[in-house]
Amino acid sequence: MDVFLQTLVAGVLIGGIYSLIGIGMSLIMGVMGIINLAHGQLMMVAMYITFVLSHYLHLDPYFSLLVAMPSLFLLGMFLQKYLLNPLIKVDSILPENQVLMTVGIGMVLAEIARFIFSSDYKTVQTPYSSSAFFIGGISFNLAMSIAFLFAVAFTIALFWFLLKTDLGRCIRATAQDKDAATLMGVNSSRITIITFGIGSALVAAAGTLLIPIYYLFPDIGGPFTLKAFVITILGGLGSTVGAIFGGILLGIAESMGATYIGMGYREMVGFVIFILVLIFLPGGLKRLTKI
């Protein structure tokens, strides 16, 4: 029973970060209707920013949230404005060229990182990386717990933003019906740019929070892009609430898989869930709630 609870706790904690990744992806998917295949690579960029700050300037990883998030916000806006939005005007047989474009962006980001930092694995050691506290015999990794709290705080802030501010309402309107929103006076191309920025900033937060407990190399983006995709399928396409539960569920499933099946299959658990959801619950968790 202890093993089970311990696995559950570890899963929920990592699931918080997964949710943050998934929400960014869902937000972009909801507003633009495309899947951002460079999502994990954007996280990788944020992780390298944090790595540089802590390695050369000895800044605390949590402090570098203040640098990584705005930088990725700007990078995301740049990508959307100059690479993705112009594609709407390009006449092409394949409708998926925006998705292909994000693949290209992801490859370029990963290769630039490889040029600068080489393919070596990097880690950032912090005093709290390996320390833990205990509640009733269950150990909570300190860095993971802090990351989880941050993830919850960011999620709440995002929902406040989406529900209570004008800009947030514009984003939700564009996600619901782009043409109607445009007719109501929403500048939808500006909204897509801002949304991509916010999505990138959220995934940057996830990357920075992962740094104390994870390692870093240029190809780390790919697996996380796939995770984000599994989360959004699990939560229901374009649903931010679904992404929260999807992320936590994926975290739990992965850590259960690692404990009870074997470490080699940890990565596979997500994909198995993905196929099962597609076969038995197309539409994801969103379908269950009817919201």
Binding site: L100, E111, R114, G264, I275
Partner: protein, 320 residues
Amino acid sequence: MKKQKLYWVLLGIFFLTFPFLVKSDYYQHLMIITLMWVVIGSSWNLLAGYTGQVSFGHAIFFGVGAYTAGIFVTKLEMSAWWGMMFGGITAMLIALFVGWVCFRLRGPYFALATLAGGEIFRLIAVNWEGLTDGMVGILIIQDFRSKVPYYYIALALAAVCIWVIHVIMKRKWGYYFVSIREDQDAAASMGINTTLYKNISLLVSAFFTGMAGAFYMNYMGFIDPDVVFSLHFISIMAILVGIVGGVATIWGPAVGAFIMVGLQETFRSSFFGLAPKWVSQGHALVFGLLVIFVILFLANGVVGDWKKIKRNVFRMRESH
């Protein structure tokens, strides 16, 4: 018209006599790899370009074909050439399952589902050591020392693949495929069983890709999961071959294969040893930049946008 026919005949003679014209093993090898990519690119094009179902997971079929051939040697102790026959068929069986799951999704979601499928098969190949020998990979002894027999096999495979796709696209199936790409709902309301025809397109595509995989096993003699199920160097490469050459054109992927393999080799060998060594590390970066460039400026590929290229680059027609 007559002049055009002459060009085709000359081209045919060139390909048939290539191994006698060029004796260098290195260039023969490049040609064989290019012809293999012609097969993969053309079959990707049938599914993505003509039927509109953009697959990010053609490595599934390539890898399954390659592993079929390899397992014939390691587990059944038969010739890997049996794998050429069964590689395509196994890939088709796998494609049935992939289609059953992935065709529940449309457009970009289908693309992503196939991408995840590729990763699943890679992980299976890594972890199912009893069948695939995991990360150790499969090593076999090639049957021929000379590259000439392989060249003709690859040439025949490429020719048959292009011919079959050409025939399919002239028939009723071809029109069904294009109508699904243009508007799936309209196609369905016209009475076309869209799921059935998407699956047919996928099966043909998987068959040839599986054959190419089995050929790769026979020719290279070594495979491991990271080579044949690679996302970047098989699945994405297949897409690049298709879009650089031109989607939904018969000869586009063939042209694309020559461009892409040529480019890849140029960078991998640092411009054939002329440029400094670090250039060879940049070939993946060039791939990425090429994707961005092609999508922004050459959305229909070299063959599809040939008129545009002629107009803008060579300033033909207008100067007169």
